[in-house]
Symmetry: C2
Subunit: 230 residues, 2 copies
Amino acid sequence: MASTNKSLADKTTERIIRYIIDNKLREGAQLPNETTLSSLMGVGRSTLREAIRALVSRNILTVQQGSGIYVCHNTGVSDDPLGFTFIENKEKLVTDLLEFRMMIEPRVAALAASKATPAQAQELLLLANRVAECCEAGKPHAEADALFHAKIAEISENVIVPQLEPLIMHAIDMFIDITHSQLKEETIRTHMAIVNAIQNNDAIGAQDAMTLHLIYNRDRLRRVLKKDPS
Amino acid sequence: MASTNKSLADKTTERIIRYIIDNKLREGAQLPNETTLSSLMGVGRSTLREAIRALVSRNILTVQQGSGIYVCHNTGVSDDPLGFTFIENKEKLVTDLLEFRMMIEPRVAALAASKATPAQAQELLLLANRVAECCEAGKPHAEADALFHAKIAEISENVIVPQLEPLIMHAIDMFIDITHSQLKEETIRTHMAIVNAIQNNDAIGAQDAMTLHLIYNRDRLRRVLKKDPS
């Protein structure tokens, strides 16, 4: 592809990333405007724009028309970090996503239980209640459900797991889509068991409750996919 | 940012992704040239180039000057899918990466053992031998080590785990960097125990061997980070 200033734009991209890190800019932080940024980076306006476009598509920056350039939420993690768009067999994908969640979430719940403060446990309880309310009101609960699991990841203090938020979101969305999930009693009950164990700093209890929660999900999925004819 | 054809470029980006999926183009497959692609997508050359640049920075396409446009290896997964560049505390990052590997790899090894064909076990043995050879020759072994773990992920048949290849690579690189790892006897021995268990379709044995392998790594890391003064 004919792009005369490709390598300069690439270097500018790297330099802006360095700038974000060195200045400890967090999500939502505003960058200098185009004019200032051009001169800081020592490049012309068109090179700068090419670099910014690359950073936008990598979910590092977001550009608000007329307002400015900001650091993204979940900086550098795209909505589809692991390229699920390119996995064609959706039944296999949803099954394997659940298998993947079973690998990580029970241990994450145990870590969260060993670290949770009373205030964090309270926040988690509110999120569990929100899922239950959505259920009772017959409203979509995918987002509330994802927030519940994301909060547990955050409480665990592991820096990797919260970065998987888009993946968990994807897993929950697909699961609900495929199972046409009416939220079941089990979900509400096992969510609450997870909250209780985390509240009591009971690592083993939290791990077991999360395992049970995901086993119920897997059971439901297997029935829908007719892998288990009961 | 003034970009008059932004939304058209975005739509073209999505349309090219759809084209890749519908035509079942796998990694290394060549796309039509710019002229053909422009007319297929019904857009001008500059919009097409903007879309292609976005796809290049998302690791979906790669452009070989004078040769053509190809689908990337690990399509849609960037070298840093979870934004580790933006995590500043590198000791915490390497520790949490190892914790994360302990969540997934033992179970992945168990899955691999339950599914491995003799041919796959043989390939894995060759990779384990290559790691050992690098060690004996005093050569860097990070890449061989990552290939060994990636092969186990592939054998497991879970579609998510192989997409984490850049993450495992990152974890191994950082680990070697921080521990100044001279590859230890333990690594070679536990790698071999993993191969043997997978060869024998022994899921529990593979899970235990992988767990042991990662526990040795964690122990070494704790000593280096002086969290364990022994």
